[in-house]
Symmetry: C2
């Protein structure tokens, strides 16, 4: 549901928020945790090329009492968790307050602009931290294109398993190794065994390091252990979305994943983008859920609602860029190697949430549910190198002439996401980036 905070005509007294290509116009207002040389970690909102310091806003009395208490608690614990625990209504209240405070032509905005120096910190002068303390991180497998592609490589006889169209397949990931965008990622060591060999496995640096382009959903209000979350209520438990890079070591994964799933091939690092783009901000960019093929089963009743079918999808364009060490020395900009849409997912975010809690598993504020690799129908929309180079058999050629089957040391992977629609301002997610270090 859109409201006056989405009005494309809104402008901010933060001039850069009006630039056409900014990810952060006043219609976005994404939440994060930042620090700078003179500010301890604290919650903020991205606006143009600046961050609105919510602690400063609190101290200046620009927030209501209830929001002020919550923001103070976020400052204390250095995460958005207390804000998330307040649920969608608290997030909406903050959005309304921040929108008014940043507008150029209303009383709240005029009052706030006077404190410009205290309220704003340039993005360039800030370090962006993980937005939430993630208690549990769950990774799904919600793209049928990704599942089919990977399945056909790992299990040529049965690429898409019989449960796929019935269950949003997922597994638990590692919360401790979630890192903020910009953190270098060391190439992991691990056991691998050549597919056909009878020789023993060996231990050493992975030779098939990959990224996975994913979208993550942060949980706000949780559910009590033993209780379910109805599909109609699922989105009231979701604060918003971010981008993720679920770094993966494909050779380790192939050797270890049976029967209990991926483990060391995935848990060495997962990069999270700095800004939580709220579901409220994404309201103009909703679209119908994936349309199942004729003959495909309909989801079981607890995973199905007309409303979710009608607007369970998100029109988020997603791209992946790679820049290599050589390209940097030659001043060649990172090159796009894929572009696709989050609208291609077989399962909706609401279905992921409802499924996750359908056995009474308790979700908690700050939990992160990732979509799994976002791959679409076309080659160009495949969200990892395993698919993009078809297990290395179709290498990509980069500007400057290098080729890539998998990631090499020094490669930087950059993920971006944005939403566009006629009649609305474009909004974006900022970058999810990381450079590969040698093992």
């Amino acid at each position: 549901m859109t409201n006056d905070t989405h009005d494309a005509a809104l402008t901010s007294w933060v001039e850069s928020a009006q630039e056409a290509d900014t990810d952060f116009p006043i219609q976005n207002l994404p939440l994060g945790i930042f620090e700078s040389t003179d500010r301890q970690p604290r919650p903020g909102i991205a606006i143009g090329d600046q961050i609105l310091d919510l602690v400063a806003a609190m101290e200046l009395g620009l927030l209501g009492d209830s929001l002020a208490t919550t923001i103070h608690e976020c400052e204390r614990v250095r995460s958005l968790n207390p804000l998330l625990a307040g649920g969608r209504s608290t997030l909406a209240a903050l959005r309304n307050t921040a929108s008014a405070m940043l507008r150029g032509n209303v009383d709240e905005g005029v009052a706030a602009e006077k404190y410009r120096g205290g309220l704003l910190v340039a993005l360039d002068d800030a370090e962006l931290l993980l937005p939430a303390r993630v208690g549990d991180y769950t990774d799904f497998y919600a793209s049928i294109y990704h599942a089919t592609n990977v399945g056909s490589m790992f299990r040529p006889d049965s690429p898409l398993l019989p449960n796929y169209k019935w269950i949003p397949i997922g597994y638990h990931g590692r919360a401790s190794s979630l890192v903020r965008s910009g953190t270098p990622v060391r190439r992991p060591n691990g056991q691998t065994r050549d597919d056909a060999a009878s020789a023993p496995p060996t231990f050493g640096p992975t030779r098939r390091l990959d990224y996975e382009l994913e979208v993550g959903a942060f949980i706000c209000a949780g559910n009590m252990q033993g209780d379910q979350i109805a599909i109609a209520d699922a989105e009231s438990h979701v604060a918003g979305l971010c981008l993720l890079n679920d770094w993966s070591a494909r050779d380790m994964q192939a050797w270890e994943y049976q029967p209990l799933g991926p483990f060391l091939a995935k848990n060495f690092a997962t990069t999270v983008s700095p800004w939580l783009v709220t579901l409220d901000a994404l309201a103009p960019f909703r679209r119908p859920a994936f349309v199942r093929a004729e003959g495909d089963p309909q989801p079981l009743p607890h995973l199905s609602s007309d409303d979710d079918q009608r607007r369970g999808g998100f029109d988020i364009t997603l791209e992946v860029l790679i820049g290599t060490a050589l390209m940097r020395t030659q001043n060649i900009a990172p090159a796009r190697i894929s572009i696709g849409s989050f609208a291609s997912m077989y399962w909706t975010v609401a279905q992921l949430v409802t499924h996750h809690a359908s056995n009474g598993c308790n979700l908690e504020a700050g939990d992160l549910l990732a979509s799994g690799t976002v791959s679409g129908e076309t080659k160009e929309s495949r969200g990892c190198l395993l698919e993009r180079t078809w297990r290395g058999t179709e290498p990509l050629t980069l500007p400057g002439g290098e080729t890539r089957r998998f990631l090499e040391d020094g490669d930087e992977v950059i993920m971006r996401g944005w939403c566009e629609r006629n009649g609305f301002r474009r909004i974006g997610f900022g970058e999810c980036a990381g450079v590969v270090l040698s093992a």
Copy 2:
């Protein structure tokens, strides 16, 4: 390595610590978090039928400055995590201090006994909470008997997969649904599909609810992301052990587990016993690691050390009892349905730790690494009903005449563990218990 705290001749001024069948003689000194009507959650040490209140000991000046600071911090965060973060040396210091304080015949003990009323809380008057705030919970699959048994049911053509003898197979579990012993567990709902049927899956209460008997290892000092933990150093990262019941819904598991592993079949609840029995307390009960069969591969060098081969095992006897609703109305005591030993595990605790960090995954203080179901070679030592009743084909008969294939509503599952060795006092883990509620 044993020292004077293990001396079987030691006695305590807490009389019940001398009883032959107590789990908590002065040689044990396990750590937990408790609360009572007049004491907020705080760290304590079990001694006989009492708990030594470590906050009271701190306030009475009976701890050194450094330990006092740590205990105060544990009280503040209501978990043992700050103590665990101090590593093995801090735990050893606390053990030595508590041992002296509780002895009847040394100055420290004589001084402490005067404050008996303040220092002690009866176990019967206390609520025992989870010992640690678990950031990440990992579940392994370290019993080759369990893996072979379960594999032969789920994959008759390849019960033990080719990676099993090379990799300590594990996966990430759910931290939020870890519950303390005594918490009732609701029968989960979930999707299941009859093995042979072409009919669609259905959603409803599991019909194959099971327990899994496991031993958990609490991490103390962690490792930095990107760093490994050498096998020779692995036990310096382990504070001690506890018991776990990894409740499992077998019908849901069979339908969901491919290709990413168990998820909703496991994450609705895992029960943790209240006491962390330190590795120091377990020193007298070490034994050689599992002796691999002739022809079995030796572990790769990074997972292998002479010391671990010589003493990587633990002689912990483990039993599971069931009491049904009907048995309780007839005053029939819970009946033992299995007994085995933790010494039967194929992989050692040190190997689990080293493997987990071998890709640079960062372990953190308070993390919990569970062994997976502890099953031995004999029928009587099988650690879950799936194996114990061979997928329900060999039902167990309970005292009172009931039979069990899987758990029924009202069933209480009780797990116990203890160590015995000539020349040493018996020590135990206390109970890991939970009753099944209807869906």
